[in-house]
């Protein structure tokens, strides 16, 4: 029997929601939560223990989290590590990718599962096997058998086939092999498939890069703008910014405001515990400090609007579109520097 360890975040391990996101690494015998469904789908593989960690704890103290998680399973003699599924949850997906990567360094093969646009996929940097899943937990039933199937393949130690055949996301690796059709024939096949509505590729994609713009020459004469992905809106969320998977960004006037008062502004972000932000919204959008620095002459002027959206579960394509639209407004307004906050 192959001995597997399963990694979950605080939520799926049943330790609590956002209020428990600071939970320290912990270990439980056997499968827990989604691990029970996974155990039922696994053949010849036993989940001997489940390890879990709060998403905030992991994000903020990654080194300590990894050290402690692996110390917890030292006595378990694992042959395999499975992490997730994390679906669209960014912090959880990131942790899954890093835990599996660390397992690999320690000689334990592993795999993670999450949505293909989860930042954990970029965190894996092609070094972790990732089973693609739906963006939210509704995809659990579909995901578990596919995780089990790849887990069996990994545990067997055999050489894996291409991503599409084995059910994992492309890692950017290229392997030479003989193909019966020439490049020209395959290109025509891809083109015909595309005309029929199916876009396929023989090569994986990559994140694009932007050249860093030159520094601000003289901040004391510059126009600065405040932007946030932390879902900060006027109290009551009058324009109904969604708390997850935002479809839009919003712009609010700062005319006459010296600070963002509690009770007048709040965060509707659904990806972290907003209690501390709502006690003092300047913790997300630092208007009080920036206004003070404008008065002191350190910063020239502050743009009259701030821009806001929620950055959790937002698809890369939407987020890029919001960014372009906001960027154009800022450019047209003559903004020369931006302070952006996220979580």
């Amino acid at each position: 029997m192959v001995r597997a360890i399963h990694y979950l975040n605080q939520f799926f391990a049943g330790l609590g929601g956002e209020e428990a996101a600071g939970t320290e690494p912990t270990r439980v015998d056997g499968p827990v939560g989604p691990g029970k469904g996974l155990a039922a789908a696994l053949e010849g593989i036993e989940i001997v223990a489940t390890i879990a960690c709060g998403d905030d704890y992991f994000g903020e103290q990654e080194g300590a989290a990894l050290g402690r998680l692996f110390a917890l399973i030292e006595g378990d003699r694992p042959d395999l590590l499975v992490a997730g599924p994390a679906f669209g949850s960014g912090r959880y997906g990131y942790a899954c990718a890093r835990v599996v990567a660390e397992a690999g360094k320690r000689g334990i093969p592993g795999l993670a599962a999450m949505h293909e646009e989860n930042p954990g996929v970029a965190a894996a940097a092609g070094r972790v096997l990732i089973v693609p899943t739906a963006v939210n937990v509704a995809g659990m039933r579909d995901a578990l058998p596919r995780i089990a199937s790849l887990a069996s393949a990994v545990a067997s130690g055999r050489e894996l086939g291409p991503p599409a055949e084995e059910g994992y996301l492309p890692r950017g690796l290229r392997r030479n092999r003989h193909h019966g059709a020439t490049g020209a024939e395959r290109a025509v096949d891809l083109l015909l498939a595309k005309l029929a509505g199916e876009t396929r590729s023989e090569v994986g994609g990559a994140f694009d890069r932007v050249e860093p713009p030159a520094r601000v020459g003289d901040l004391s004469h510059a126009l600065m703008a405040l932007v946030t992905e932390a879902g900060c809106v006027p109290q009551g969320n009058p324009d109904r910014l969604p708390s997850v998977r935002a479809q839009a960004w919003l712009r609010y006037s700062l005319a006459g405001e010296k600070r963002l008062e509690a009770g007048e502004y709040e965060s509707v972000h659904g990806g972290f515990d907003v209690a501390r932000a709502n006690e003092d919204p300047n913790r997300l959008v630092p208007l009080d400090t920036v206004k003070g620095l404008v008065d002191q002459g350190r910063i020239g002027r502050l743009h009259e609007f701030f821009y806001t959206t929620t950055g959790n579960g937002t698809p890369v394509a939407s987020s890029t579109k919001f960014g372009r639209e906001i960027a154009r407004e800022l450019r047209d307004a003559g903004v020369e520097a931006v302070l952006l906050s996220g979580t």
């Binding site: 520094r215 003092d280 920036v290 620095l293 350190r298 020369e336 520097a337 952006l340």
Partner: protein, 73 residues
């Protein structure tokens, strides 16, 4: 993603986040590590002033792609 698009327009942008590894990985050029996910600009005014001052310094500096700074030097 917002930071990248704003910088693509040529406007220097500092992204303050407590998950700088992810930020640098997706290609954000100027990232400053905030103290926590729940309050990237700190709890108290003095802490916030230090974070904002450091962000301003980063705006006034030419950086290599995907640079990450800490608040304390």
């Amino acid at each position: 993603m917002l930071a990248k698009e704003i910088e693509r327009e040529g406007i220097p942008t500092v992204f303050v986040t407590s998950l700088p590894t992810i930020s640098a990985m997706i290609g954000v050029n100027r990232t400053l590590r905030g103290p926590a996910i729940t309050h990237p600009f700190g709890l108290e005014e003095e802490e916030r002033r230090q974070i904002v001052e450091r962000a301003l310094e980063m705006l006034e500096t030419d950086v290599e792609p995907t640079t990450v700074w800490e608040v304390a030097t």
